[in-house]
């Protein structure tokens, strides 16, 4: 079965500091897409960043970047210069190519940003 593990149920970071959220996944497929989503108190699921498994270069989106280690099946999210608005639940997810884009989600990491 395909699974996603987020080993940190909760994390906290000081404003302007850097924090890394961990994610590991388990699939026997070689072609897949990985995602980090952010869910603020409004509950809307917002895409943060995407990584194609066939790309070796780590994806970046402004203050957000990933460390993708395909062999280790690890996909961590780094948030630099943390802002109060980054406080949210963060979900790691992926789908396998050819699966009709069916996402498998981790259980999430609750990030608190301290002023």
């Amino acid at each position: 079965a395909q699974t996603v593990t987020q080993s940190q149920p909760e994390m906290s970071v000081q404003e302007a500091e850097t924090v890394t959220l961990s994610c590991t996944y388990d699939t026997s497929e070689s072609d897949y897409y990985l995602f980090w989503y952010k869910q603020p108190p409004s509950r809307q699921m917002i895409l943060v960043i995407r990584q194609e498994a066939y790309k070796q270069q780590n994806a970046t989106e402004n203050r957000f970047s990933v460390n993708f280690q395909k062999a280790a099946k690890s996909f961590s999210l780094k948030i630099s210069d943390s802002q109060l608005g980054d406080a949210a639940m963060y979900f790691c997810a992926y789908y396998v190519e050819g699966s009709n884009y069916k996402l498998t989600f981790g259980k999430g990491t609750l990030l608190t940003v301290n002023p």
């Binding site: 897409y33 809307q44 895409l47 789908y95 009709n100 981790g106 259980k107």
Partner: protein, 110 residues
């Protein structure tokens, strides 16, 4: 631009009553559409997905059903709600190998 709308945003329904949640996508044609549920303190679980009009695939057996009467419309229904149907329901669609979500609907069954 492409957008997704989901309603109602909040719903309180008695046990045994029917349910209808609606999702509409704008700005694209023939999208893949999805219904996910998020129970309290949990990640998202895929309930249904659709690759076209009238084509519905169910991921988990349950008290719910889905329909796609039009290309950009996806409906989640139940004939008789159970307490266990309470949760946060999210409609989603896929474009450019990425999945985007609607605003979500809070369902409380009392």
């Amino acid at each position: 631009s492409q957008t997704i709308h989901q309603w109602p945003a909040t719903l309180v329904q008695p046990v045994g009553s029917p349910l209808s949640l609606e999702c509409t996508v704008e700005g694209t044609s023939n999208p893949n559409l999805y219904w996910y549920r998020q129970a309290a303190g949990r990640g998202l679980q895929l309930l249904f997905y659709s690759v076209g009009i009238g084509q519905i695939s169910s991921e988990v057996p349950q008290n719910l059903s889905a329909s796609r009467p039009q290309d950009r419309q996806f409906i989640l229904s139940s004939k008789k709600l159970l307490l266990s149907d309470s949760g946060f329901y999210l409609c989603a669609w896929s474009v450019d190998n990425t999945i985007y979500f609607g605003e979500g609907s809070w369902l409380t069954v009392v």
